[in-house]
Structures are given as structure tokens and as C-alpha cells.
């Protein structure tokens, strides 16, 4: 007759007595059930806050629905998509957005990497400097926009005041076509250069020191070391930072809203700002949904191409 209490043998050959189930655990709840119970709140939240709105927006994008006018959402096929892709208004905003993204991200990359490179060569005060450089990134874009708006004011702004004390003339930073877009790029650069700097600094810190030591023994110049050791090793990480920044810059809204409100005229209206107007001035919900979906698609396609390039770079 076997022992009614099952026993197990551990690896050492000793017999371990069977333990009762953990106290408080329902005998009906399997491990799988427990896993589902733990995951389901997060999954439900994700479904409610992310997946459902996205699918809902996708559905609305094929209709002429207006949130304020109510009434049925009539199916109009690709009408919204065709109208958006052929609209001169959208093309203008797309060009503005591209100029902004290229200008801002390009400037941030050069400055961010430059600052990171300089900081990485310091041995003292590195932590303090890094922390100080990170401060702008921690501020709300609305706050940043508001104080830059005051600083760039043509009449009483501190920037023009400084230019005046240097004997230079007043500049209409926010009310002229070229300077307004330039101002947006400068403000965004001020705020987000630290992000590139931080990632570049992580990459620079990870470069093995023995490579530099070996290069030094071979009497390699600083430029040679930078070109053949530093840049190739940091480049993939830097490209990831550029990708994150480009995605962020592509959907810029807050700075435009606070600093220029899209002006003068519509010359600093980005795609996101235009969507806001379509969605909330005329409450053309169907069009705005299609516009948003198209922006998401553009980001996904460009990101995929970019990631493929990054993978190739890694393989190479």
C-alpha cells in the first residue's frame, strides 16, 4: 500500500515532504488563470485607451461624421483620404513640418553630440554639467513656450533688448515668416538638445578605453580617433535618438500653439496644428480622423525604413 501523502525527491536524493498549497490561493485558480488575472487590468486599459480609440478613429476616417453636428456617420470610402492627399493646404503644412523637423532635429543632433563629446572628455564636474544641461528637457513645453514668447517679444523681450545694447536692430522674431519658423526651431532646440546629448553621452561612455589607448600608442591624432573609433561606435545610438526626436518633432503642436499660433498667416502651421483646426474649429471629425491616421502611417513607414537602415548598419 502506497503512502497516502505524495512525496518528491530533490536533486540531492533526499526525500522532501510534500508542502500544502500557498495559503490564500484559491484551489480553483490555475497558474494560467492567475496570469490572466494579473495581466487583464493592463490589457483592458490598453484596449480602452489605445486600441479602441485607434480603431474608432479608423472607422470615423471613412465617414463624414461630425462630433457636434451629430447625425449618422455616412460611409464615404476614401473620400477624406483623397481630399487630404490632394489638398494644397495640407501640402503647405507638410512642407512647413518637414522644414521644421529637418532644421530642429539636425541642429539638435549637432549640438547634442558636440556637448556630449565635450562633457565626456571632462573628468571633473561631469555630473553637475549633465544635470544642468538636462533642465530644459524637464520643463513643460507650454511653460517653455510662454517664457520664450516673452523673451522673443519684439518690443519688450530680453532678446531684442540684448541685441539693442549691442547696437543691433530689433528683430520681429514671432511675426515675420522666416524668423517665426526659425524661432520655433531655436526654442525646440533649446529644450530638446539635452535629449540627444544624454543618449550620445551614454554611447560615448560605453566606448572601450583600450581602443583609445591602442590608438594613442600608434600615435593616432585626435581627429583620427574621433573619425575611426568614436563616431562609428556612437553612430547607431545617435541615430536612434534622432529617430525619437524626429517622431516627436513631426507631431509638434504645443510650441506652435503658444509661440506663434501658426502665424504669421499660416506660415508656421504644422500638420498637427492643422489637424487641431480641422477637428475643433469646424468639428469635421471624419476628416480629422483620416488626417491623424495618415500621420500615424507616415511615421510608421518612415520608422520602418529607418530601422531597416539601422539593422543594416549593425550587420555591416
Amino acid at each position: 500500500m502506497s503512502d497516502p501523502v505524495p512525496s518528491t525527491t530533490d536533486g540531492s536524493g533526499q526525500v522532501a515532504s510534500a508542502r500544502p498549497p500557498a495559503r490564500g490561493r484559491s484551489p480553483r485558480l490555475s497558474d494560467r488563470g492567475l496570469a490572466v488575472a494579473f495581466i487583464s487590468p493592463a490589457m483592458l486599459l490598453l484596449l480602452a485607451m489605445s486600441v479602441f480609440p485607434l480603431l474608432w478613429a479608423l472607422y470615423l476616417s471613412f465617414t463624414d461624421y461630425s462630433a457636434t453636428r451629430g447625425g449618422p456617420a455616412n460611409f464615404i470610402g476614401f473620400g477624406n483620404y483623397t481630399a487630404i492627399l490632394t489638398s494644397a493646404q495640407v501640402h503647405t503644412r507638410a512642407l512647413t513640418t518637414v522644414i521644421y523637423v529637418v532644421g530642429a532635429v539636425g541642429l539638435q543632433t549637432v549640438l547634442g553630440f558636440g556637448i556630449a563629446y565635450l562633457i565626456s572628455r571632462r573628468t571633473r564636474g561631469r555630473g553637475v554639467l549633465t544635470t544642468l544641461f538636462l533642465v530644459p528637457m524637464m520643463l513643460s513645453p507650454v511653460v517653455v513656450g510662454l517664457f520664450w514668447r516673452f523673451m522673443l517679444d519684439a518690443q519688450f523681450g530680453v532678446v531684442n533688448s540684448m541685441l539693442g545694447s549691442l547696437g543691433l536692430g530689433q528683430v520681429e522674431w514671432l511675426t515675420r515668416q522666416r524668423t517665426a519658423l526659425l524661432s520655433l526651431i531655436v526654442v525646440d532646440t533649446w529644450q530638446w538638445t539635452p535629449f540627444i546629448m544624454l543618449i550620445a553621452l551614454a554611447g560615448l561612455t560605453a566606448v572601450p578605453k583600450y581602443l583609445y589607448e591602442a590608438a594613442s600608442i600608434d600615435r593616432a591624432s585626435e581627429w583620427f580617433k574621433f573619425r575611426t573609433i568614436t563616431l562609428p561606435l556612437v553612430w547607431p545610438l545617435l541615430l536612434i535618438a534622432v529617430m525619437f526626436r524626429a517622431i516627436e518633432a513631426f507631431r509638434l503642436f504645443d510650441l506652435v500653439y503658444i509661440l506663434t499660433n501658426g502665424g504669421p498667416g499660416v506660415s508656421t502651421e504644422t500638420l498637427s496644428f492643422h489637424i487641431y483646426k480641422v477637428a475643433f474649429l469646424g468639428f469635421n471629425t471624419g476628416t480629422a480622423s483620416a488626417y491623424g491616421i495618415l500621420m500615424v502611417l507616415v511615421v510608421i513607414v518612415l520608422t520602418q525604413l529607418y530601422l531597416r537602415y539601422l539593422n543594416k548598419l549593425k550587420e555591416g
Partner: protein
């Protein structure tokens, strides 16, 4: 996009009573229903400016005497978000306000969407319509829109006046003399001379920003003064009307004669910036809304004097100069009851409106800094003595002209704002800007049957 989705999802998940039906405003009862005796908060929504604070203080002081259980709360949002804040809630078919303070031009959108109550029967039973200038009553409540200067007795009313307003000309008596310019040409000449004689002081200050209705109101004012029209309302025609010869002349005057007399970088100025320029003594002549001009007399905010009297020695307030016509812009707002407010709150809102429009209350509102709409209050000493610009308002009432209060208003005003702002800041030639306004606005009016791409 998240905001949009919240609004649309809420609309889709709401009671859906408008689905499949042509939206129309629900009717308010002709008589005020029985009021609750429980504590109740009556909420308004407005934009953040001094009259909003004045209204809350006034209503809590005076209305509470009649209804001790009622508390008035005036919720405010930045001016640029005012339309969005109200209509996003309307879209969700649920509002956290009981009384929406709408610009007159928002009425069409709110009525067509069924967002506010039809007050026609209520007004007939409770309001003495003969006590008002007919156009004022019409401008803040009637839909379809009243013809300038008139009221259609048979049209429905959806609101009642809360705060009247128009532009006043603010001029430096110490720089250009006590007598204000009488014509637009004289005004420009006086500003030009003043600017030349006073280095550091610009000849003019006015609204040029591309947000809210800033630049649009400026152009519309000059357009009216030079005999232009914004549209042919009967035929819904804008192209060929706003950009006719009078319209072109107005744009030319605004961009080529007035703009050069403004401060450098003033292309994004609105109410606060114009007031700041006047208070700091940086403008010879300025134009601003009367309801926003009270702060100019505050010595704490001004460099023109250490007392109100000293400031008034330098600042004069006058009605706008005339040229080919004497039209002035209609400002101000009306009170409208949210269709989604609780029944008890709607009843309280109607009671408040009936109370607010009484002759004695309108005079008290005038004394508290408000701009009333009843003729007896407008001509009362309480109002005329409350501020140096109040006489300007009373004299301007017969001269007022409004914009369009059609459902497409928000898009029409945005088109005009951005294009006038572009012309004022050198981003477009004046003629091109005006032609673009005409073409784009006409496109909005004609696009109601378009399949797809609405709003672009």
C-alpha cells in the same frame, strides 16, 4: 487627437437622441418651473477677462439675496480655447456648465446642433422686449441672424444679452488734442503726426493677432467704415462681395496706411498687448473693446499718472471715426442655456436670466462695471458715470454691425484671421489675402454637400 477621440467616443456612447434626426434646439418652458430649495451651483462658461470676475462677484452678491441657496460659478478658459471648451462639451452631449456665454457668432453653430435651448416662448412670457434696442436683442439671441440694425419679430430667440460691447477709440489728449478725430482719414493723419512728433510712441495700436477673432474684427471694422460688406447673406455669397472695390480699399488702408503706424513686432497683438501699449504711453491712438478697457484707468497698471484723474487728463475715449459709413463692430455676448444641463439647473438658469434682465438689476450690473443692454440702463447715470467709455457704448449702439452667425462661423473667422494677419505681417500681398479670404470662405459655405475632406 486624443481630445478628438474622447469627444467623438462620448458622442457615440451618449444617448444618441440626435442620431438620424435633423438637430434642432429643444424648447425652454414658457414659464419658469418650480425652483429647487436645495443648495445649487449655477455654472457659467466664459473666457478669462475682467468682466468674468465682475459677473461672478456681482451675481453672488445680488442674486443670492433672492436665491440664497444658489451659488454662481463663472468658469473661465483662455480666450483662444473659448469656442473649443464649449463645443467639445456640447459634442459630448454633457456640459459642466449650465449657462454658456456665447459670442453672437457662435449662436448658429449651437442652434443647428441642438446644443442650447430655444427661449422664444420664455422671452415672450418673461422679458420686456420693448425695453431693448431691437438689434441688441436680436444680435445676442436671434437665429437666423438679424439684418444689421433690425430684429425679426417672428424669428426664434436662443439667448439674452449679458454684456454689450463695441470698440472704443482711445486717444492721447496730451499728444493729439482734446478733440478726437472725426473721420478715419483724420485719425490716420493725427496718428502719423503724433508718431513723427513723439519718438518712441507709435501712431496706432490695434488687434492684429491670428488667434480668436483679433485680426478679423480689425479688418471687418475698416471694411464697414469704408462701405464694404462681409457677405450677401440672402444668397450666401462672399466671393465678389468682401473683395469688391470697397473691400480692397479697406484692406489697402489697413495694410498700407495703418500698419506702418504701429509698433514693430505688433503683428501678434490682441486685447492685452494694446492695453499695455496705451498704459505704458507707447501709442497715440488705440482701438480696443470697451469691456476690456477698465484696467487703463488703474494707476497701478499705468505709467500715465498716479491717479485715475491724472490718467484721464491724458487719455480720451471716443466713438470710432466714420468715413463712408459710421459702422462699428458689435461685440459682447449673450447667455444661453445648455441643453444638457440638469432640469433643476435649467430652471435656475431661466430664473437667473429673468432676474438679470430686470431694469433695476441691469442698472446695478452697470454700476458694478458691466455693460447692460436695456435702453433704460444704458442711459442711466449708474452706467454713464461708471466709466469714461460708457458714453461711447451708448452712442455706438445704433451704429453696430456683426459678423456671420452661421454654423460655419469658426472656420470663416479663422480664414479671415489668418489671411489678414498674413497681410499685416508681410506674408501675403493685401489683394491676394483678400481674394484668398473670399475664395476660401465661399468654399466653406459651398462645401456643405461635399463628400469627404470637410474642414480642410
Amino acid at each position: 487627437m486624443a481630445m478628438l477621440l474622447v469627444a467623438t467616443t462620448a458622442a457615440a456612447c451618449g444617448d444618441g437622441k440626435d442620431d438620424g434626426e435633423k438637430a434642432s434646439a429643444p424648447k425652454a418652458p414658457a414659464t419658469i418651473p418650480e425652483l429647487t430649495k436645495d443648495p445649487l451651483t449655477l455654472s457659467f462658461i466664459w473666457f478669462d477677462w475682467p468682466p468674468a470676475k465682475a459677473l461672478e462677484a456681482f451675481a453672488n452678491a445680488e442674486y443670492k439675496k433672492e436665491r440664497p441657496n444658489a451659488t454662481i460659478k463663472v468658469n473661465t478658459v483662455p480666450n483662444a480655447n473659448w469656442h473649443d471648451a464649449m463645443f467639445t462639451q456640447f459634442a459630448a452631449r454633457k456640459t459642466d456648465f449650465d449657462i454658456a456665454i456665447l459670442d453672437s457668432q457662435h449662436i448658429g453653430e449651437a442652434v443647428t446642433n441642438g446644443n442650447i435651448l430655444d427661449l422664444t416662448d420664455f422671452v415672450k412670457e418673461n422679458i420686456d422686449v420693448a425695453a431693448y434696442n431691437p438689434y441688441l436683442l436680436a444680435a445676442y439671441g436671434q437665429f437666423p441672424q438679424a439684418e444689421t440694425g433690425k430684429r425679426d419679430e417672428n424669428a426664434s430667440l436662443y439667448g439674452l444679452p449679458l454684456l454689450g460691447d463695441t470698440w472704443t477709440m482711445i486717444y492721447r489728449k496730451d499728444l493729439i488734442g482734446d478733440k478726437p478725430p472725426q473721420t478715419w482719414d483724420q485719425m490716420i493723419a493725427a496718428a502719423e503726426k503724433c508718431q513723427a512728433n513723439n519718438p518712441g510712441v507709435s501712431g496706432l495700436a490695434f488687434h492684429q493677432a491670428n488667434g480668436s477673432d483679433a485680426a478679423a474684427v480689425t479688418y471687418n471694422t475698416v471694411n464697414g467704415v469704408y462701405g464694404g460688406n462681409l457677405w450677401d447673406s440672402k444668397n450666401r455669397k462672399i466671393d465678389g462681395v468682401i473683395n469688391d472695390a470697397a473691400g480692397q480699399e479697406a484692406m489697402d488702408v489697413l495694410v498700407n496706411k495703418m500698419k506702418p503706424l504701429t509698433a514693430k513686432g505688433s503683428g501678434n497683438w490682441f486685447i492685452d498687448e494694446v492695453n499695455a501699449a496705451v498704459a505704458q504711453g507707447k501709442a497715440c491712438i488705440a482701438f480696443n473693446w470697451i469691456a476690456a478697457s477698465g484696467g487703463l484707468l488703474d494707476p497701478k497698471q499705468s505709467t500715465l499718472g498716479t491717479t485715475r484723474e491724472q490718467i484721464l487728463d491724458k487719455l480720451g475715449f471716443a466713438t470710432l471715426p466714420s468715413q463712408k459709413t459710421n459702422l462699428v463692430p458689435l461685440g459682447g455676448m449673450g447667455m444661453h442655456v445648455s441643453a444638457y444641463s440638469a432640469t433643476a439647473n435649467q430652471a435656475e438658469a431661466l430664473n437667473f436670466m429673468e432676474w438679470f434682465e430686470r431694469a433695476d438689476v441691469q442698472k446695478k450690473w452697470a454700476a458694478a462695471g458691466g455693460v447692460p443692454s436695456r435702453t433704460d440702463a444704458l442711459e442711466s447715470p449708474e452706467f454713464l458715470n461708471a466709466g469714461p467709455f460708457n458714453r461711447v457704448y451708448t452712442d455706438s449702439v445704433p451704429r453696430m454691425r456683426d459678423m456671420w452667425n452661421v454654423p460655419e462661423y469658426a472656420r470663416l473667422v479663422d480664414i479671415e484671421n489668418t489671411n489678414v494677419n498674413a497681410a499685416l505681417n508681410g506674408a501675403k500681398k493685401p489683394k491676394d489675402a483678400l481674394d484668398d479670404i473670399a475664395k476660401e470662405q465661399q468654399g466653406v459655405l459651398d462645401s456643405s454637400n461635399r463628400k469627404g475632406g470637410g474642414g480642410l
